[in-house]
Amino acid sequence: MRLFENSPGHGCTPGGVVMKIHEKILTHYLSCTSPVDKEGYLYKKRERNTTYLRRWFVLKGNLLFYQERPGDRNLLGVIVLEGCLVQACETDGQFCFSLVFTGPGLRTYRLAADDHLSQESWIGALFCASHIYLSMIVRDLERRYEEAKKDKGLCDSIQTSAVTSSSNNIMASWNSGQPYFVHGTSIVPRDGRSYSTSSVPPPSTQNRPISYSLHAPPIQFKTTNKRSPKLWPKRNAHVIPLNGPAPSYGEWPVVNFDPLEEFSKLHEYYGNEIKQLRAEWLKKKRGEVGHVEEDLIDLG
């Protein structure tokens, strides 16, 4: 058994396991510019004690960091959220929940929130925090994206027929493909949720179970406006999935260049759309008013 004393980021557990976690890499990830997923005070139960200590928790990616208070330079610890279940538990009192790591000799972290809202919010955030969960969702979305593109391609290519058809594909609930986590981080919709977000139109069916049906959109004969829908932010220029398929619509400038290095191209691209929009606007305005004021700025 190897013991390291006064070495940062070394574990030391009975049974002789010592592993270096490279603390500085973790703290750098925590403090870098990518957004934090959730933060706030929670109570954390001590491992061999019944007392709960108030700690400031920061959730980023699949890592849950904790320290005494916000802004503390000294991090007390981090919990890697892979292979755990997140459960509400009322045994220790109100607003408690646990991170149950499933496996021989593995720990359960007991936490508690200040109120019901906070408890729900934290459970929700931790529930979908693991890398495994995220990768399952991404794989599923990738497949659905390919299908949606194919369906759309089919729709756009039919020009004369007035027949609308829809195909029902009942998707079997997919296998997580990760059999080793006993309970699995299976994708189940959380119960009792009915959210309405102002930015997204409500879907046609609510609270579907894992198996869902994919309807092909009805076939239209006029070309649809291919601009990004108003309800969603127009641009995701920084998203460049390395593995992503080439976009079939010319408006997404995502694969040909790295925007960080060829900013002028990106600038020119957006500039063109703005110029176009502006030209249309100007035309419309002239029609209404008869004259248009001069530009305040020279847009070139």
Binding site: H22, I25, S34, V80, P189, S204, H238
Partner: protein, 162 residues
């Protein structure tokens, strides 16, 4: 700093995305190349002595840059510091390329961006938000604006057009 070591060790025993024996060299001056069993699992790179079952270390693959150093050699640089450059020697060019690809795609932040991309695209193509049925469409971590936020750091003057 404390961390859930037992749980991480348990994780290191799970089926890896990719595993191989590679030559590995640490970032410090005087570090030499050592044969290690390297396993990529979620966004961690675990490394083991070739004859041991317990990992001696785990590298979090976030905020790092992966580069081709040579035909069969790649490096991972953390914190943008040359002092934190780890070298990995592969047995072939193909293996080297595959490792680089796998490590880049393993990052949580990379996957998050992909999710947001697909979410937006599926919504654009079908009119429905694919995250609704999982009950996670409101989670901050999957919001589309996150991408704009990171884009704005580099292209802040673009916002004047929007």
């Amino acid at each position: 700093m404390r961390f859930n070591e037992k749980e991480l060790v348990f994780l290191s025993r799970q089926p890896p995305e990719r595993a191989a024996e590679l030559g590995m060299r640490g970032p410090k001056k005087g570090d030499v190349v050592k044969r290690r069993v390297v396993k990529l699992i979620v966004n961690f790179l675990f490394y083991f002595r070739t004859d041991e079952d317990e990992p001696i270390g785990a590298l979090l693959l976030e905020q790092c840059r992966v580069e081709r150093e040579d035909d069969q050699v790649f490096s991972i640089v953390f914190l943008d510091e040359a002092e934190r450059k780890y070298l990995f020697e592969c047995d072939s060019q193909e293996q080297c390329v595959e490792w680089i690809d796998a490590i880049v795609k393993a990052s949580y932040e990379f996957m998050r961006k992909n999710l947001i991309y697909y979410r937006t695209e599926i919504h654009r193509l079908t009119g429905t938000d694919p995250l609704e049925q999982y009950g996670i469409s409101d989670e901050t971590r999957f919001q589309v604006f996150l991408v704009l936020q990171s884009a704005s750091i580099h292209h802040c003057h673009l916002l004047c057009f929007l």
